[in-house]
Amino acid sequence: MAEKTRSSDVAEEPSKSAVPASAGRVSVVSLRKQLRQHALTVATLGIAVVIWLAFLVAAPDVFLNSRIYSAFATTTPLFAMIALALTLVVITREMDLSFGSVMALGMVGFVKAYDYTGNVMLSVLACLVVGVVCGLINGYLVAILGIPSLVITLGTLFFFRGVELVLLDGRPVVLRDPEIEGLRDALNGRTLDIPNELLWTLAVAIVLWIVLNRTRFGAHVFLVGDNPVSARLMGVRVARVKIVTYVIVGVVSAFTGLMTAMQLATLFPTLGDGTLLPPIASVFLGGTSVFGGTGSIVGTFVGSFIVGSINAGVISAGIQGFYTQLFFGLVIILSLVLQTLISRRMRH
C-alpha cells in the first residue's frame, strides 16, 4: 500500500527526536497522567480525612466506638445511592437539585398504587415509574430546551414537592401494613448481619460502575461532559445521553425515598427535605469534576461514606445539628476550590 511506505518515512522524524529523551519523558508523562487521574480524588479525600481527624480529636470516645460506624452503615445509603447516580449527571457537566422531592413524590406513587391495587410489587413499580417521569421532565427541560440545570432543577425541586404536598394533603402516611413487611425486610433488614441498605448501595454502585466504565452509554457520558460539540459531531446523541442520566437519578431517588420511608415506617410529607447537601458533597468530595468530563463512581462511594461519618459523628457527638450544614458546606466549597486550582495548574 502506498500509505504504508509513506507512513514509514514520516515515522523517522519524531522517533529521532524522541529516542534520546524518551527515558526522561516516560516518567514525566506517566507522572503527569497519574497526577491528573488521581489528584482530585487524593486531594479531596485528604481534606475529608483532616475533617474526620478533627472529629476524632474533638470527640474521641464517640469516634473510637464501633457503634457509630454501624449506625452510619444504615443512614449513609439513604443519600449515597443518590450521590452515585448524581455522579453521572455531574460528569455531563449538569446538576440535579430536585432529587429530594423525587424521593417523596415517588412514595406518593407507592402509597396511591397500594391504595388502589393492594399489590406491593405494583406499588414499588409505580414508585420507580414516578422517578422515571421526574427524570424525563428534568432531562427534557435541560437537554432539549437547554435551560441551565442548576436553575431549572431548583424549579422542579419546588414543583415536585408541591405536587407531593397537594396529593398527600400535607399529611403523613403510616406504612405498617403487614402486607409490606416483606418489602421492609428486603430494604431494611439484615443479611449476614449486614444492613440491607448497605448491600443495596453496593449493588447500585456496582451497576453504575459498569454502566459508566464498561458501556457505550458510559463512554458517551464522559464525552458529553468533556466536549458536547465534538461529541455531537462524532455522532453521539448528546441530548439523549443527558436525559438518561436524569432518568437514572430519578429512579434511584424514588428508590431511596422508598427505602427511607420504609425505614421510618412512615411517609412524612417532608421526606427528602434535608437531603440536598450530602449527595452533592459526596460527589465533589469523590473527585468528580464540576467542569465535567471526569469523575468516578468509586470516588463518590468513598466520598459518601466520609460524608456519612461526619453526619453520624456530629449527631452522636451531641453537637447541634446545624454544624452538619457548616461541614457539608465547607466540604463542597473546599472540594470545588481544590478542583479549580488543580485543573488550572494542569492546564499550564
Partner: protein, 266 residues
C-alpha cells in the same frame, strides 16, 4: 451534472462517491447554503475554497450528516439517494471527517477519542477496552509514525501538541477505512513541518484510491493537492475549475473578484 469529473484514474462511468443536489441549509434567517450542487468522484481530491462565512464548514457538516439538507435538497451516495441522512449513516457509507475544531474530547484518553461515537463492544455489549487500546496504539504508530511516548493510547489528549492532536483526528478518520475524507482546515494551528506532513497525507489518500474534500483558507495548501477546485461564496457555488484549467495566480485573482463582487468574472 453538466461537467464530468476530472479524476485521473479509473473512475470513468462510476457514480460520484457523494453528490449534493440543489442543497440548501438555513439556520433561522441565515442562508448558509443556497441551491448547491456538488460532487466528489472516486479517487478525486476536491479543494473547497471560499472566504469566512461562505458556507464551507456547513457543507462539510452536511456531507457528514451533522446537518440534514433543507427540503428540496438531496444527498446521493454511489448513485443512490440517501434519505435518512445522519452522522452514523454517513459513517456506515464510508465517510469520515477531520473537523476544523478537531472534535476531540481533551480530558479523555486517546483510545476513547479514537472510537468516539462508535466504541467497540464485546458480545455482552460491554466496551472492549483492550481491543480499542491495542488498535489505537497500532494505528497511531502505523499511519502517522507516532513513536513518542506522548501518544500512548492511555494518555489524555490535553497533554499533546497541536500536531499530535491533529494526528489523532486524522488517524481516527483513516482507521475506519473511509472512502471519502472530509478535511476541514486540517492545517489550522499547525507548525510548518506538521502542515507539510498533513498535506503529504492528503496526497497519500489519492494514491490509495480514496477521495477527499480539502477545505483550507490557504490556497497555497489546496492548489497543489487538489484535482478540482470549487469556490463557494455566500452559500453558493461561485465557480469550479480543474487544476489543469487554471493557474494558481489566475485562481487568486478570481478569488479576490468573488470576494468583491460575488461573481467569478467582472
Amino acid at each position: 451534472m453538466d461537467e464530468s469529473p476530472q479524476a485521473e484514474e479509473g473512475s470513468a462511468g462510476a457514480p460520484p462517491v457523494i453528490e449534493l443536489r440543489n442543497v440548501s441549509k438555513t439556520f433561522g434567517d441565515v442562508h448558509a447554503l443556497s441551491g448547491v450542487n456538488f460532487h466528489v468522484s472516486q479517487g478525486e481530491i476536491v479543494g473547497l475554497l471560499g472566504d469566512n462565512g461562505s458556507g464551507k464548514s456547513t457543507m462539510v457538516k452536511l456531507m457528514m450528516g451533522v446537518h440534514g439538507p433543507d427540503s428540496g435538497g438531496e444527498v446521493w451516495v454511489d448513485g443512490q439517494r440517501v434519505r435518512d441522512w445522519s452522522v452514523n449513516r454517513a459513517r456506515a457509507l464510508g465517510i469520515e471527517t477531520v473537523y476544523q475544531e478537531r472534535a476531540l474530547a481533551e480530558q479523555q484518553a486517546i483510545w476513547r477519542n479514537m472510537y468516539m461515537g462508535r466504541e467497540l463492544v464485546n458480545r455482552f455489549r460491554l466496551l472492549d477496552i483492550r481491543r480499542m487500546r491495542r488498535e489505537a496504539s497500532g494505528v497511531m504508530s502505523g499511519h502517522l509514525g507516532f513513536t513518542s511516548t506522548a501518544v500512548h493510547p492511555d494518555n489524555v489528549v490535553e497533554t499533546m501538541s497541536g500536531g499530535e492532536k491533529q494526528g489523532v483526528a486524522i488517524t481516527r478518520a483513516l482507521h475506519f477505512h473511509a472512502r471519502l475524507l472530509l478535511l476541514d482546515e486540517p492545517t489550522m494551528g499547525l507548525s510548518l513541518s506538521e502542515t507539510r506532513k498533513t498535506l503529504d497525507f492528503v496526497g497519500s489518500i489519492k494514491e490509495a484510491g480514496r477521495s477527499a474534500v480539502l477545505v483550507d483558507h490557504n490556497i497555497f495548501h489546496v492548489y497543489p493537492v487538489a484535482d478540482r477546485l470549487v469556490v463557494l461564496d455566500r452559500g453558493r457555488v461561485a465557480g469550479e475549475f480543474t487544476r489543469a484549467e487554471i493557474s494558481m495566480e489566475d485562481l487568486i485573482d478570481r478569488l479576490y473578484t468573488v470576494a468583491r463582487t460575488g461573481r467569478m468574472e467582472e
